[in-house]
Assembly symmetry: C2
Homo-oligomer: 244 residues x 2
Amino acid sequence: MRLEISALAGLPEIRPGDDLAALIRASAALENQPIEGPVLIAVAQKVVSKAEGAVVDLRQVEPSAMAYAWAAQSNRDARLVELILRQSRRIVKMDRGLLICETQHGLVCANAGVDQSNVAGDDFATVLPADPDASARRLRSMLGCGAVIITDTFGRPWREGLVDVAIGVSGLEGLEDYRGSTDRHGRKLGSTIIAIADQLAAAAGLLMRKADGCPVVFVRGMVWQQAEGSARALIRPREQDLFR
Amino acid sequence: MRLEISALAGLPEIRPGDDLAALIRASAALENQPIEGPVLIAVAQKVVSKAEGAVVDLRQVEPSAMAYAWAAQSNRDARLVELILRQSRRIVKMDRGLLICETQHGLVCANAGVDQSNVAGDDFATVLPADPDASARRLRSMLGCGAVIITDTFGRPWREGLVDVAIGVSGLEGLEDYRGSTDRHGRKLGSTIIAIADQLAAAAGLLMRKADGCPVVFVRGMVWQQAEGSARALIRPREQDLFR
């Protein structure tokens, strides 16, 4: 098996209301990148949010007392803190300037995915797509590709640096279960469930960053069993989590 | 930029004392896989441990009272539990059958990296290489490739499924710091340090698993700044970790 991973270089700046699938399709055609068939396409959350209009005008956000207090402590914009709190259903940790949140989707990440990078002006911020699986599903159906993964860049406990993970999935199972299989010595593989969608997101992330902010990456050569899938499978339920 | 990721198919079963670099070199030659120059090679910890003789005969391991107690609770081999405890410098969590350890290297993972998969017989287990950076350095120098990453498959809080991470690095910086750079709108990228070695490990992991247990994977087309590097950069110091 040989994977080929390439970035779409010429995607224009995405604005609210843009037809993201049409823009991807047009750029891919210009760059001779076939997208139909067993191609897996990773799309950065940022452009999905922008196209879907998941961009908030902070001038419309009235900070709460907690938002003001935390903003003062952590030297941040109180309106941004308020937006983060509104995007959360639970605060996992609020310490040393960090706000680790459980989002409405159940994702655990810093700032509930609220972000100001690649957004024009201090008065705007993007939030995560309301239903990233549905976003992935729409893109897949409009692109005719094998699978779509919506990725975002998350930190994690214990290890330094950010990695890309899958927050939306369509066309494959996010987890691949090797528990039935055996190793070379016939031993059952005990607890080997691989977060295949996250590994794909990380692989795509290599190019998204390196290629100077290319939010669309193609993976070719991957062999997988087609399924609708969902990124929800990648979220550990709170009651099974030893670190929440 | 276009990455090409391919697995080495024909590597034989590795035994203690084997010259892993020579075996990789021979298989790569047979498979027409050039390894010199700007090739990044990911090698699964398991074969590095085996070649280095980091395989423990459990018949020589005398369990402690704690090992017996935990083994009884979690339905495991007390000798294996004892080995896990001896490979740890601290227990991070010991709950619901899970033993999350801080290894002698500072890595936080289940069972301190002790593993019985792909090991012959119930009386043996592999442990992590004593110095995975040094293992990576040796392999890189003997293979003449651009970089070597030793990978292992770790779980993580909050998310289901395992992902591959880098536990040994030679030839690149494990973290890539984008904090100096600006986005398309001229905004400073606040806290964007990417765990590039972990993203590479995850990308390689896609093939290691898929290609039926291929422990050696080549990444070609990657552009990076050559540096000695170390996987220690990827370990968050305990005093900066909100979840330890």
